[in-house]
Amino acid sequence: MVDPLDLALTNLGSPIILSFALGLFAALAKSDLSFPEAIAKGLSIYLLFAIGFKGGVAVAAHGMDAQLLAALLVGIAISFLLPLVAFPLLQKLTRLPAVDIAAVAGHYGSISIVTFLAASSLLTANGMEGEGYMVAVAAVMEAPAILTAIWLANRSGRSSAQAGNEFWREILLNGSIVLLLGAFVIGWATGERGLAEIKSFIVDPFKGVLCLFLLDMGLVAGRRLMGSMGLLTRGVAVFGVLMPLVGASIGLAGGLLLGLSLGGVVLLMVLAASASYIAVPAAMRVALPEANPAISLSLALGITFPFNLTVGIPLYLLVASALVGA
């Protein structure tokens, strides 16, 4: 059984969370601290490659089995399902136009790979690593929610969202998916031998790079929050905290159903609780251009991401540790 206080302190006192807090503070204090776009992208490329590669190596060591395939299917199903839960919840809490609600629902059905990285890091630090293939589950959970969101928008009659070639290219071949899955396949194909060759590059510096990246995310989240105060009404903000809890509950049910390890259950909860702010916003701009992108981004990045990082992850771990193997 995990000690809740220890866990919360470990999480809040970790360099990763403190780096995020520094970025958030700098943004809210209106400091001129900033990361050039190219460096931020470079950091994200490194992290996606590293996490994908390590996930592939773990699968190579573990081998393909029915549980992996079942986890992928459950991940896809959760991503399809979450917008159907988010849509009526947001309708109850706000008076946003249907197309904006559908767009937000799409973001919340998809995942935040940065939250996943932070959770993986906390689990590893506590000796509770999840299944290596959870990286692949994360990748397949990016896109299905976007399709549900388009269906919801079209059903509302306020949008003529279409899934043309550009849309499919955006959701299936966006850079983060290609990199994550590509690195996963390389890690899978080369296994421990491949990892030994590049370990000094993708394992040892990983946490330091993650700290810098979280510092940048803190800056981006803080500035996004300050720039969108008018958009984030009470109902919208409540949704930003409530929906992760709903998502985590669905992820928990999925993880228990699959019989995942404690780490695996927590990672599935985190994936279901998080909202995308990298891949989905671009796809939504192509598919639902009428939707106001500031609402989805501010909510996902300004409220849900900090919530998951500081409160959500330890909470999900606590709940999962009480249920897994019980």
């Binding site: 900033s34 776009e37 800056l219 981006v220 891949a279 671009a282 701009r285």
Partner: protein, 103 residues
């Protein structure tokens, strides 16, 4: 030096539809264009900045092209097919070019 009248069409559009726009320009017979990065701004969807961003969902680009005056209407029709629903802005201004045969 002798110069010739031309039109400068400047399009600010979401980075995510840059390829759609440039494809539309090529289909409309525009022989050349330049894509410029935009570092930030403020509009109906609020302020934004490219600093620290890793996704393309909230970024903008500027696409500039110079055309002969008689080709502006055709170009704008092609451009509006892409720009109409997106966040963006199109402006047309007078310009002067030295080598008219290039446009």
């Amino acid at each position: 030096m002798k110069t010739h009248d031309a039109k400068r069409v400047e399009i600010f559009i979401e980075a995510v539809v840059e390829r759609q726009l440039t494809n539309a320009l090529i289909d409309a017979g525009v022989t050349g264009y330049t894509v410029l990065p935009v570092s930030g701004g403020n509009g109906q969807s609020g302020p934004w900045s490219r600093e620290g961003q890793i996704g393309r969902g909230s970024g903008m680009v500027a696409v500039v092209c110079i055309v002969r005056p008689e080709r502006v209407d055709e170009l704008l029709e092609a451009v509006f097919a892409v720009v109409e629903k997106q966040i963006g802005m199109v402006s047309v201004s007078d310009a002067a070019v030295v080598r008219l045969e290039k446009f």
